[in-house]
Symmetry: C2
Subunit: 479 residues, 2 copies
Amino acid sequence: MAKQEKKVDAITSMDVDFAQWYTDIVKKAELIAYTSVKGCMVIRPYGYAIWENIQRLLDGMFKETGHENVNMPMFIPESLLQKEKDHVEGFAPEVAWVTHGGNTRLEERLCVRPTSETLFCEHYADIVHSYRDLPKLYNQWVSVVRWEKTTRPFLRSREFLWQEGHTIHATAEEAIEETERMLNVYTRFCEECLAMPVVQGKKTESDKFAGAVSTYAIEALMHDGKALQAGTSHYFGDGFAKAFGIQYADKDNTLKYPHQTSWGVTTRLIGAIIMTHGDNNGLVLPPAVAPIQVVIVPAAMHKEGVLEKAEEIRAQLAAAGIRVKLDASDNSPGWKFAEYEVKGVPVRLEIGPRDIAAGQCILAARHNGEKTAVSLEGLVGAVQEKLREVHDGLYDAALKNREAHTYQCRSIEEIQTALAGGDGFIEAMWCGDESCEDEVKAKTGAGSRCIPLTQKQLSDTCVCCGKPAKCMVLWGKAY
Amino acid sequence: MAKQEKKVDAITSMDVDFAQWYTDIVKKAELIAYTSVKGCMVIRPYGYAIWENIQRLLDGMFKETGHENVNMPMFIPESLLQKEKDHVEGFAPEVAWVTHGGNTRLEERLCVRPTSETLFCEHYADIVHSYRDLPKLYNQWVSVVRWEKTTRPFLRSREFLWQEGHTIHATAEEAIEETERMLNVYTRFCEECLAMPVVQGKKTESDKFAGAVSTYAIEALMHDGKALQAGTSHYFGDGFAKAFGIQYADKDNTLKYPHQTSWGVTTRLIGAIIMTHGDNNGLVLPPAVAPIQVVIVPAAMHKEGVLEKAEEIRAQLAAAGIRVKLDASDNSPGWKFAEYEVKGVPVRLEIGPRDIAAGQCILAARHNGEKTAVSLEGLVGAVQEKLREVHDGLYDAALKNREAHTYQCRSIEEIQTALAGGDGFIEAMWCGDESCEDEVKAKTGAGSRCIPLTQKQLSDTCVCCGKPAKCMVLWGKAY
């Protein structure tokens, strides 16, 4: 079918230039636009609608697990940021500093929050006094700023949108349980809503969040074989509580330090969706977060009864809670096919005079191009079933891709050989020494992504030094 | 009933000290907490839940009227802010400036957005080229920063949450229609969701938004007789389009400048709710935005069957979409009564063994203390009816208060006399000269709030100079 002008600029093939393929998609699917603010972007309606769906689903999961939303200031006074030593060392080099209000120089400079632990701690010190005040299970949906040198839409930008959960508990056990609970919430969200399989693990010491006792993360494998950290959950112990003087009177009337966590996911998840499911024709969206789940493209639109039938179907699907759009514009069906293909709409519903006569319509799945004729009777059920099929198909394909690009290695040479054909995940044993971690990265390019929670005993010795191994590490090049 | 420690600190009476009464409520209803960031606040879960309800309802109204959400950067380069002359003059003196990223001085300083017209204009210049690209109907939910000298929670803070709608249209007529449409949306929202009557009007020249051709506003009267601007809607003409070089090819193939609008409401609305409905016992929330609409307080909770019945009722009301909380904590009923009174929960549902035996429960309305016994059969309908009654009662009381404190005046002396007994709205004629506007304010303290869209011909001459009057102005002291 002839495509119109708009689509002349094809998307670069991901095999030719993966980075350009990615940039083409974020632009052509109208997810973002660039601005004159270096490293910051406009998230356009179609991109923002994906984020709104992510927010709605995650926020529901947070509320189900007892969390409440709050809103902290976007500024942190320099003295407050400095209270926890490791934290300030990790973040100070990459914050934006406000030095003037109007024409007046501020007495103390303020940073634009890169993350809000310090603000939450100040607040806890104000409101937590007794064991009755615990736990506090908070979250906020805001943007944060980190002054990155190189930036890419969604993956690494100077300002990005995220949620940051912050909780405070009477005991270490409760806080650790919370840290793991939220890692599981993220895992469930990625797998059930984004159709993206992830590996759960703990970060090594060198890769922990600034100020954390332990950092958990979920890692996903992208089309190009690179790893993407999709979410993190941190256990802080009582380090922040001690730095900020947060204490509570326990039941036994002694003063104790509470234990804290924080956890977050960002608009980076949109980048993960693109690089997990996208193809050379554009974006491919998992149904749970697609702004449009089904687009109806009528054929021979001006023939009697076609538009009426299409509208009847639209109303029927919408009433069942399906996000559906009927494109009754004057553009050709070919233009429309290309448009919604680039935009990754999971299911296209085609209907024309012959379909109507036969009491059916065509459902075309974006991810594999499969077309199925389905009866107009019981259409809602058939569409819901198709959306589930699409989700499962996306998940299975992503899992297969990850499995095909995960290599178990017993030596540096094996890692080098495995990665010679392209990037991927490496599973290999590690002695626990940072020097070996560094050496693996230096020699193979693959850094430690995490220590998977599900361990395998691949061998008894470290892949690098040959000394006794402590654990299996997942290695890879990362975004 | 004996109240426990927590409630010993009573709320200051609004007649004794209105400002302290307000501060007591925002603190004791746990809406906000102060921080070490001067002029910024923590919005606590109960306060933020009100904002979430406001967001959800307004966002629905925006989407119904065809608007899409986007997200712009929080930073504006100084050169971009300066492109529209009036706009920069209005905002530059009160913006926060970012001068450093990490340890590096920025080549150009960036302000933290005080409002985002300039960013939207830059984006329009990028994406608007043809009449086919128009209109764009955008909105964003973000926070903005204005470096205010004196601040008060919700009413005036250095950072506040808001939504800012930004639209661009082919013609002036369409843009003006949009400006008025959104003023009507705000009016409907304030009256139908916040139970707060407002006066619609146009701002005088001296009070317009920086860069606007005309600014519309809605004004509400608070308990203390002061006016509060609850929302604004601006028509920009093609001034910004010219400053930013935004042009589109019209159907006739000539290049034209499009016309723009913007409109916004802020967390200030929470301040308006407090000062419109609150009383000396605390907050009083309109049902549509109350985080808890009904609180169930069981009496003789430990008697057999009471908690079970209370839980059954909770589940029933929740299933009907009512935001209900059962407080089964060990605190005394008296403590609970006081707690939810301070927090302004619209309806308290009391149930004890005698009620259960009689097949009834008690509904107590927060705003007027009225108690009604209602049958447990058909309880959902009775509660819904009660919530509607509460809404209507709040609206009527607010309207009566406004009417009782609105004075029609024909001379400066009449204004002075009217305001001698306390603040209020003044309706008086005006010649249109800024000098008279200034003189009225200097002599009476009442500034021009707006030129009401619904005009009355109170006299033929200006209240100040006696020259022929052009219109009736609403005057008052303002937040």
